[in-house]
Amino acid sequence: MSSPRRITVAGMPLRLQMILIAALVSTVALGASGLGFVWYEMEQARRMLTSHVELLASTIAHHSRAALAFDDREAAENTLRFLNSQMSVRRGCVLRESGEVFVCHRVDGVEDEAPELAAADLVERSIEWRPDAVVHIEPVRLGAEHLGAVYLESDLSEIARRREAMFMFAGAVLLFSLVGAIAFSAGLQRRVVEPISELVSAAGAVGGDSGYDVRVESRGPVEVRVLMDSFNEMVSQIDKRDRELVGEIGERRRIQAEREKLIRELERRNDEMERFNYTVSHDLKAPLVTIKGFLGLVSQDLERGELETARNDMQQIGKAAERMYDLLDDLLELSRIGRVIHEPETVPLREIALEALETLTRVVEEKGVRVDIAEGMPAVHVDRMRACELLQNLLENAIRFMGDQPEPRVELGARREGDRVIVHVRDNGIGIDPKYHETVFGLFDRLDTGAEGTGIGLALVRRIAEAHDGRVWVESEGAGQGCTFYVSLPAPPLATDTTPA
């Protein structure tokens, strides 16, 4: 069971913090000032009441001197009736020197017991604050003679009412100020917090889905506007440096990929060169051995005078020389492909395919192979002559390796995939064991050593495909299952390719 999350002021959003602080400060400040105000008012009220009662008592004492001096109760009562106009005084009495009540007057008319005071209590002026009343005693003197005292009892209900009114007023002011403080903080929030919140959101969005396109509208107080402008400038700088960095990284990656590609190419070329050296030395040596051998036989034939045999041997020497010529011719062609590429052009693939097939008319007829060139193939953007050589070699390869197929058939088709055209040449010939799917493209690699050709055709195909940034591969389920060669060639831009995909 997880413990309840503790909410702290520091953890609150800035908006709530500002409202809370404004409310708290207003409450504390106004509460304190309100209490101070009420306290001050109460003190003033007490002081005023004291002063007022003192004045009353002093006046009554002055006016009671003669009444006390000449023992006239009626005159004293007349003097005390003056209290009827004083709301704050509840009861007033004139006491003799001994403490005996001379006259007593209750303003509210209520009859109650007269105050009991000792003579000693009447000698000095005194004021006593009781919970519900304040009692003032003012001595009455005639010269040095102490005649008695005036006793005044004031009601504190007026002060209590005033205190209650003060508290209500202070409470109303506090409430009003709280509302004002919240309204003020809301206004302040619109001016300060909202721009800052927007800035916080924008800062959180930097580097996210929006990347570095995040900007904030500069608004609010001048400090916030400066902050927002700085933020925008900072994001712009980051964006700029990020783009430069991405570009630099991309460039480095591209260079790295190019270098790796070149290394691979060099390695492949090196391998190829090694095999070429070996093959050339081996394959070119074979006709020379034949020629050398038959030259010896011709010599013997001539010594024996067997001219017919010598002629036959000479024919073998001619065949060997022809074979050597073909090998050297193919090698020359292969090296030329690696060096010379004509300007690419957009050509319908079917047109190239038919052109290639035309050069193979004799062999097609000899082998009785049915060759189907698909209709509606896409155009390709290639070195036309090399592309024709490529298709010619693929078709020738398919026609030659038909084996004993009673219904030999070759099919050429193509489809567009993005910016490439995938060309396939499918046959139902002898097929290729999967373990040879890669080596068939090597120089002078012939799976069937008895077959015609120099074994350079598929190497040529691969060289031409690679010269077009393409590749070639073969799919076959194995011997006797036929095979399909695939070549990827560059497609023309879509706007210029009017043929159906």
Partner: protein, 143 residues
Amino acid sequence: MVRLLHFVRWPDGVFGTSTSPIRLGYVGAKPDESQIAILRAGRVRTRPIVVFAVEADQDKPDCHVLAIWAGVDPDRASSLIAALEDEPVLTVAHWAAPGARDAVVRFLGAGERRPFVLDEAAAKRAGLGFSSHVLEFVKREDS
């Protein structure tokens, strides 16, 4: 007597200074010593009271207050009052003193609602004034 003096105003210049005593002379039966003591102990504001008996041969005693007690010769009382008629002297007569009807103030005795009778004309002639407080306790007449 002393209480009454608190409410009397003499004309300016009658007393030398603010602490000059009030001279109280009396004629007639000599008061008790205790009464004399009370008078002598009394003060009217800042002024002490000097009490003395008016000599028989004095026709116009030098005093501020002349108390005429019972037992005085009526003619003597009348002549003294007449002699001091225009002087700033408060003449106070006991109710039982004959020949003192023209005194500024006459005591009527204890138990009376208003224990004094004030002759306002005589007071005016003497230049004396009375506090409004005391006026409530006197019977006022105009000779």
